[in-house]
């Protein structure tokens, strides 16, 4: 079961002939993901790693029966790549690309709201259902199958948490990176709802950071709708106001979005908040 991706995932890779796209296509195939083809405009008809390359997402989806697309297209062209995947009516689109302009993402968001597609990302490490499927760039070897759902705005910090869980013998149902941009496709709230509904997930780990109000909304949702226990970690306790901390979305503006504010809200709804990443598995196990 798990959420979003599993053994039935049939994956297209947008930007499959690029350096990043090619490297991670190999990694995903090695993990066992069912990659059914790729897209690079102008390179239709070629083959990469034994997979057919198409000029357009529509042709690729029709020919392969794909149900997920992952995007490694460079930032200047990434928004158009997402719009193309929406137009081809793919139910799930995962955008790894970092650095997409906000204006482009506002247009994408608007198109998304009128479609049936779900976007995860951009600027995210993607999805990993241990032992079944990997879509994106998460290192597969640090994860193991289990019943803890992981959702995160970060990349390497997510690996840190997954690794810490695995070291303690705690496996994961699905790991979801929602990305560090101010405007994204899937929120904490969306993923929490999916984990709550997923029979394979028993507990949830949420990794947030400073900036925005997504964690606050998540806390409210947990208080009202979640029956499964949640453990959280929030990065950026020491971040100064008005400075962007790496992720475009990680910025405290006008005193809104501080780590202290988010931690207090989580604690008020019974979420246990870890002080260090190593503490996450302790809180999950107890």
């Amino acid at each position: 079961m798990a959420i979003l991706i599993n053994l039935n995932t049939r994956l297209l890779v947008q930007g499959i002939t690029g350096q990043q796209g090619l490297f991670h296509t190999r990694q995903m195939i090695a993990y066992g993901t069912n990659v059914v083809g790729g897209i690079t405009p102008g390179k239709g008809g070629q083959w990469v790693e034994g997979k057919p390359v198409f000029d357009t997402v529509r042709c690729a989806a029709e020919a392969t029966g794909a149900n997920v697309s992952v995007i490694y297209v460079p930032a200047p062209f990434a928004a158009d790549a997402i719009l193309e995947a929406i137009d081809a009516e793919l139910p799930l689109i995962v955008a790894i690309t970092e650095g997409i302009p906000v204006r482009d993402m506002m247009r994408v968001r608007r198109a998304l709201d009128q479609s049936q597609s779900r976007l995860v990302g951009p600027n995210c490490p993607g999805l990993l259902t241990p032992g079944q499927s990997k879509v994106g760039i998460m290192p597969g070897h640090i994860a193991m199958p289990g019943s803890v759902g992981v959702v995160s705005r970060s990349g390497t910090l997510t690996y840190e948490a997954i690794n810490a869980l695995t070291q303690r013998g705690i496996g994961q149902s699905t790991c979801v990176g929602i990305g560090g941009d101010p405007i994204n496709g899937t929120s904490f709230l969306d993923v929490l709802q999916m984990f709550e509904d997923d029979p394979d997930t028993e507990k949830v780990v949420l990794i947030g950071e400073i900036g925005g109000t997504d964690e606050q909304k998540a806390a409210e949702f947990i208080g009202q709708h979640m029956t499964k226990p949640v453990v959280a970690f929030i990065a950026g306790r020491r971040a100064p106001e008005g400075r962007t901390m790496g992720h475009a979305g990680a910025i405290v503006e006008g005193g809104v979005g501080t780590a202290a504010e988010k931690i207090a809200l989580f604690q008020s709804v019974g979420v246990r908040v870890a002080d260090t990443p190593e503490q996450i598995p302790e809180l999950v196990a107890s």
Binding site: F23, E209, R237, M245, E278
Partner: protein, 385 residues
Amino acid sequence: MNLHEYQAKSRLEAFGIPVPHGQVAGTPQEARRIAENLGGTVVVKAQVLTGGRGKAGGVKLAWTPAEAEAHAQAILGMNIKGHIVRQVLVDPASAIKQEIYLGITNDRAARKPVIICSAEGGMDIEEVNRRKPEAIIREHVDPLLGLCDFQINALASGIELPYPLWKQFRRLAQALYDCFIASDATLCEINPLAITEEGDLLALDAKMSIDDNSLFRHPDLAALRDTSAEPEAETRARAANLSYVRLDGQIGCLVNGAGLAMATMDMTSLYGEADGIGPANFLDIGGGADAETVAAALRIILTDPDVKAILLNIFGGITRADEVARGVIQAFSEFESDLPKIVRLVGTNEEEGRRLLEEAHIPNIITATTLSEAARKAVAAVKGG
């Protein structure tokens, strides 16, 4: 990236927004010449990328060219919140009947641009929002439809703008939105927007911020970046594609990934706070960094005189630990440094990375396996030194 007032105003003017026709001076003599050419009363305004210029004495009215020169003399070189004034804008002074506020920014929660208007111009909009929130009128803009005339009418009505000005106001608000979109701005603000005695709208002051991620398609805007006000290390970091923010602690942090870099900062201050020890910087080398990037990052940390220990925290996913090790070796072969170096390398190719570091015999390397251990050792190293 923020634009100076004079840059923002010239950009607004290109989109058809009326602005005063002033000029920029780098010396008091130039300011005098500009004032002579303009004739009449002028305003001499410090050009710095920070707010609160007026309170700091960086904005002065001058009735004569000699006075303009004297004010420029006083303002140039002034330190306003850590920013040194290197240029002043000399604008013709205007006779003002009323001052209003008009700005556009992105509303993150609504995922749309929002245009904001208030009859309380000339003061900080955040301040107006605290004191008199009902004085602020907002309209969210659908990015596919653009700003509609009925929305501008709603703003005009909301601030009780005299009806004879509505036509002018519609043109101006539309131009501001066009400028916001065409510039990939995250903020376009006219404050104050003056209603002059002659009954015209005039943008007396303006602020613009541009989305850094969009600069690839705006070389003209990218060229406007003023790096003179920021720490040199941040300029160099940007050139090397590193995300760097200087902080006030002693532990120089080098990390892959923004979230992990923040967590590393948090851990060092968690363990060091009691002794006044904390991170000297936020530094994310990004995903898939090669040896050259790591070396560039270390050079930046090593030139910070406040750094008493270096903490290298790498969780290799796409980033390979052996590449990171090569960068570390390269950097320390250029710079002799006795500083304690706490190294935590885990993930892809970690054994190879550790072996390379051991064989390089770099002085004063301390290894750690977990983030907490690394942070504690870094704090201890600063205390011990």
